[in-house]
Amino acid sequence: MPANRFNGQTDFGIGIGLRVPHYQHILERRPVVDWFEIISENYMLDGGRPLAILDRILEQYRVVQHGVSMYFGSAEPLNREHLRRLKALVKRTKTPWLTDHLCWGSVDGRYTHDLLPMPYTFEAAEITARKVREARDFLEVPIAVENVSSYAEFHISEMTEWEFLNEVVEGADCGILLDVNNIYVSSQNHGFDPYDYLNGVPAERVAQIHIAGHSKFEKYILDTHDHPVLDPVWKLYEHAIRRVGPTATLLEWDDRIPSFDEVHAEARKAEQFIGIPVVVSQ
């Protein structure tokens, strides 16, 4: 099920994140890349170099927007200025779908600039789903929400993270950006089976998949995006592809970024799993 209504009926393959250290390589050498993911906030500007570079990229490549500060899970209303700027960028990139995180990060107009985990309550799911619907109606583009990695769980939670994800996406009728690295990181930090999570995700709603590297510390794992993808995450990815079918996949590498070729080669390791048979669940 590569193409569905949550990714604009597209069948994108393996992509990588567009990052500043690779601009020159991409513009000069024009490598063959199926698509780039951009961080929306980096281009929600009035002018200057970032937008000029983006326009040159758009002349040659397909681009999908990924946001980090919509904060669907914050109790406060959506930021209208944010939405206005985001819509202008959507028109510019013609992104077939748009993603942001299933998290919160602002309260009373103050921003933490972090992806804070949700309390898994029915009230939070209802508020979050309503905000996703509002954003989609304003932006007029399919939206998929991404599961975040987390380091804390809250006493007031009423369900598991994947049950909460289901509540939100059903309530919002939106897609899922399934981050298998985040599932692995959270499973290690909170002591659940990552395969229970994967098996609990509604496969038909998965619009896109993220893979990335992480860092192990003595007592917890941190989602650092500064390493190649580790074996347990590749195994989860293989399982995810068996469940949801070949799906647009994006490698995130955001810190200690190596050469473009190294990042691209790491991303293309995902190709070996794309063709594996899909297991239809009963």
């Binding site: 906030e41 929600m44 500007l45 009035d46 002018g47 200057g48 170099r49 970032p50 937008l51 000029a52 500060s69 914050s74 109790a75 406060e76 930021n79 944010h82 919160w104 602002s106 309260v107 009373d108 107009g109 103050r110 921003y111 933490t112 600039h113 972090d114 804070l116 309390p119 309550t121 009230e123 939070a124 508020i127 380091y151 804390a152 769980e153 809250f154 006493h155 007031i156 930090n189 909170h190 002591g191 007592k219 917890y220 941190l222």
Partner: protein, 282 residues
């Protein structure tokens, strides 16, 4: 008020509280411990991440201010400012937008370097604005032939005009050269070299300057202006017609009429070449 809003206020209050403040009380009430980490340790991961992220971003935006104050004083100022003025924007770009106003109300954080620090903050904030502000269609040399006294011009949004008491532009250029030679990671600059820069900055004597912070081919530049040239551009920015601006801005000029006439022609030619002027948007 929703339970979610109240919950998020408490979590954000702990995460954004000063680094030296204990968050144990909130952590124990809100966060589950696990078999490896206490509630406080789990919430502290977010607490530390919050401060590292915003301090890093702030440090990147104000390297000149850091060099004037020295690293310790700069860190004290950063923590105090960010505690008083947390981010109110979806982008970290705007983190320093209230710094000049805040420092005016808290001059003790700059000590004897207050006036110099304020000038550097204004320059560094203008630099950020000039980098990504909008660009309108510029008036070229051929357009100048049709200018009449009633016409109202506008400055490009990316041009920022500054009247400064210290020649901080020279300092900032020297610092940029130093950072370029020693790598972008300013903290990696050798401590003796940094101390040398701090001493040089601290010795700077007042010397009023008029400056335009602007960009050419997406790179930000600083251009010194004559006082009359500065006032004329300011008048255009305030919406005065060309005739009004010439009358008001040049009323106290020290130039002889013939020399002034030559100067005005040169200024307009330079501005047209730089693309600084545009038609006033309706």
């Amino acid at each position: 008020m929703t339970n979610l809003l109240e919950f998020q206020r408490r979590v954000a209050g702990a995460v954004m509280s000063p680094l030296n403040r204990s968050i144990s009380a909130e952590a124990n009430q809100l966060v589950k411990p696990n078999d490896r980490l206490t509630s406080t340790e789990r919430l502290n991961i977010y607490h530390r991440q919050y401060w590292y992220r915003i301090l890093d971003s702030f440090n990147e935006d104000f390297p000149g201010l850091c060099s004037i104050l020295g690293e310790r004083a700069f860190e004290r100022l950063s923590r105090a400012y960010l505690a008083d003025c947390p981010s109110q924007s979806f982008t970290l770009r705007n983190l320093g937008s209230r710094l000049a106003t805040w420092l005016t109300e808290h001059p003790e954080f700059a000590g004897q370097h207050f006036a110099l620090a304020i000038d550097m903050i204004r320059l560094e904030w203008a630099h950020i604005d000039a980098f990504d502000s909008a660009e309108r269609k510029a008036l070229g040399p051929e357009d100048l032939l049709e200018l009449g006294p009633e016409l109202r011009l506008a400055l490009q949004p990316y041009v920022r005009l500054l009247a400064l008491r210290y020649p901080v532009d020279d300092l900032r250029v020297q610092l940029n050269q130093h950072l370029n030679e020693h790598g972008a990671a300013s903290n990696a600059v050798s401590r003796p070299a940094r101390r040398h820069i701090v001493r040089r900055f601290a010795r700077l004597k007042p010397q009023p300057i008029f400056l335009a912070v602007h960009r050419v081919d997406f790179t930000v530049y600083y251009r010194r202006l004559d006082a009359d040239e500065f006032r004329l551009l300011e008048s255009f920015g305030e919406g005065q017609s060309i005739g009004q601006a010439l009358d008001s801005a040049l009323a106290g000029t020290e130039f002889e009429p013939a020399e002034l006439q030559q100067k005005i022609q040169t200024w307009f030619a330079n501005w047209a070449q730089l693309g600084w002027l545009s038609s006033r948007p309706s």
